[in-house]
């Protein structure tokens, strides 16, 4: 069978993939946690620190101007990548978690009151759950859970049903926070439709795009979402850099997140006034090198082509789904059809703890994640404490998935009598 050529084309761009782990070539299948970095991203960090390093917006000398240009050009290219018409809607953060916390603190706490509701789903990552719990506790609002479809015996496993949402969208709902792609089930949620339904009732929507950004096209203008958050490191960029997109109307409703340098207009002895957005939300020295690395990563992804990435991931996912069907002792969570899901697959090997499975796989050079993947509510719903997760990136090959399934035999040999 002819496989999609993407992986073989890009693998050489990622130096870490040449590593051997426990005498086996590294099969890195933990891309939902973080992705590996191509040379162009590593080079951009190196180039910034070796050639342009200085602080931004605070100097008139050449280096400071270069750094400021790199930072603001990065903002432009990131805006373009996610379809934002104005780079002023792009706020840099440390990651998805900080982006969501920023909204919870700078927007929700000032716009929610007792009796208000925030809709979240049962498949949210803790980063799109705990900030809302904190905002709710501070404002007297409450969280309402949009349940996932039951797992028993149907093909529509781990999906969000729009009919359910219809019921939940009452007048007291002031925000809907939902992930575009589940970091456990791999489910791809119908975000455009969800935003449309919420907006019909004037309810703002925050989209957690942490898993989506490296796997599908993002178009905030087309989606018309109010907020969208993602992390650089999950889209082949550096750690420590995240993005929050916020619509103009929402930005106008937001109070500052943190106080400090860079976010002020004028400082008086007792009080201060704020800079315009997005600087209003970027107190302190920003992550300039990381922005340059993220811009390089997004350019790399655009050059590879999001549609090629999607085709490749679909092939890997279809192959993995077929392999799962061969084994009755493997329980896979989430949709069974590639139309509803992407290349994030969580499972359990019956009677073997996920930690043990992951450890045995590591002995064969295969990197997967074991645990609850920051989704305790979802795992409770699935009726398990933890799971093993494999998740694909652009460099993964069908043969690596096959290696994983072969290595599961070792786990069976060791742990099952």
């Amino acid at each position: 069978m002819q496989h999609h050529p993407l992986a073989s084309k890009v693998r050489d761009d990622f130096p870490i993939l040449k590593r051997e782990i426990n005498d086996f070539p590294l099969a890195y299948l933990d891309n939902a946690a973080t992705t590996q970095k191509p040379n162009c991203v590593i080079d951009s960090l190196l180039d910034f620190y070796s050639t342009h390093n200085s602080n931004v917006s605070r100097g008139v000398y050449t280096l400071a101007e270069e750094a400021t240009e790199i930072y603001e050009e990065g903002r432009e290219s990131i805006a373009k990548f996610i379809g934002a018409t104005d780079s002023g809607n792009i706020i840099f953060t440390r990651g998805t978690t900080e982006s969501i916390n920023l909204v919870a603190s700078a927007w929700a706490q000032h716009n929610l009151k007792t009796g208000d509701r925030i809709i979240v789903t049962e498949m949210e990552h803790h980063s799109n759950l705990v900030p809302w719990q904190m905002a709710a506790q501070a404002s007297g609002a409450e969280l309402v859970y949009w349940p996932i479809t039951p797992e028993a015996g149907s093909t529509s496993v781990g999906l969000l049903e729009l009919e359910e949402l219809e019921e939940l969208l009452t007048d007291s709902v002031k925000l809907l926070a939902v992930t575009a792609v589940s970091n456990v089930l791999g489910t791809v949620n119908p975000i455009a439709k969800i935003v449309e339904m919420a907006h019909e009732r004037g309810i703002p929507v925050l989209v957690d795009a942490a898993q989506a950004v490296a796997r599908m096209p993002i178009d905030v203008s087309g989606l018309d979402c109010d907020f969208l958050a993602f992390s650089g490191h999950k889209v082949y960029g550096p750690t420590g850099i995240g993005v929050l997109y916020a619509k103009k109307e929402r930005l106008d409703e937001m109070q500052p997140f943190q106080g400090g340098g860079g976010m002020i207009r004028q400082v008086g002895r007792q009080s201060s006034t704020w800079a315009d957005s997005p600087q209003k939300f970027e107190a302190g020295t920003p992550p300039v090198a990381e922005v340059s690395g993220l811009a390089a990563a997004l350019e790399y992804v655009s050059d590879v082509g999001i549609s090629e990435i999607q085709k490749h991931e679909k092939e890997l996912t279809a192959h993995a789904l077929n392999r799962f069907a061969e084994f009755s002792d493997l329980e896979l969570y989430g949709p069974q059809d590639t139309c509803d899901r992407t290349g994030v697959l969580s499972f359990n090997l019956r009677n073997v703890h996920p930690h043990d499975v992951a450890q045995v796989l590591d002995e064969s050079g295969i990197a997967v994640r074991a645990g609850h993947h920051c989704t305790q509510i979802l795992h409770e719903r699935l009726g398990v404490a933890a799971s093993v997760r494999m998740s694909f990136g652009i460099y993964n090959e069908v043969s690596e998935i096959d290696r994983l399934f072969s290595s599961l035999d070792r786990a069976r040999d060791i742990f099952l009598d």
């Binding site: 996920p354 930690h355 450890q359 045995v360 074991a370 404490a385 742990f415 009598d417």
Partner: protein
Amino acid sequence: MSTNSIYRDLLLDHARHPKYSGCLEHPDLKASAFNPLCGDELELTLALSGETIHDCRTQVRGCSICIASASMMSEFILERTLSEVLQISKEFSKSLRKDTEDIPETIESLRPLIDLKPHRSRIKCMRLAWDALEDCAAQHQT
């Protein structure tokens, strides 16, 4: 099983057939420990006669290393005093540090666990039962 496998026979034996598994109905001391990284949990129940642990049980929802460590700990602490086992737990903790090379004779029997210390992500699995034990000892002191 490959020679570099961390799953030595002794550990596997404890993991498959854990000693003193379950809960005491009327414990003198009881503590739970939780691993927030993976959601694993453990409950330790102890029966004392004076200062001495004369019975114990662990109820574990965890990986093989966690179960094996709880099982080995249970064997180890029976008929020892709380202050003695607290000292042992501290020594075990110290021996799991990266820079500790010598293992005191008193905890030689825990060597199969200590040998796993290069796998830093599994330290918490090994420590879960011992954390509960330290909790019990602390409750007793107050």
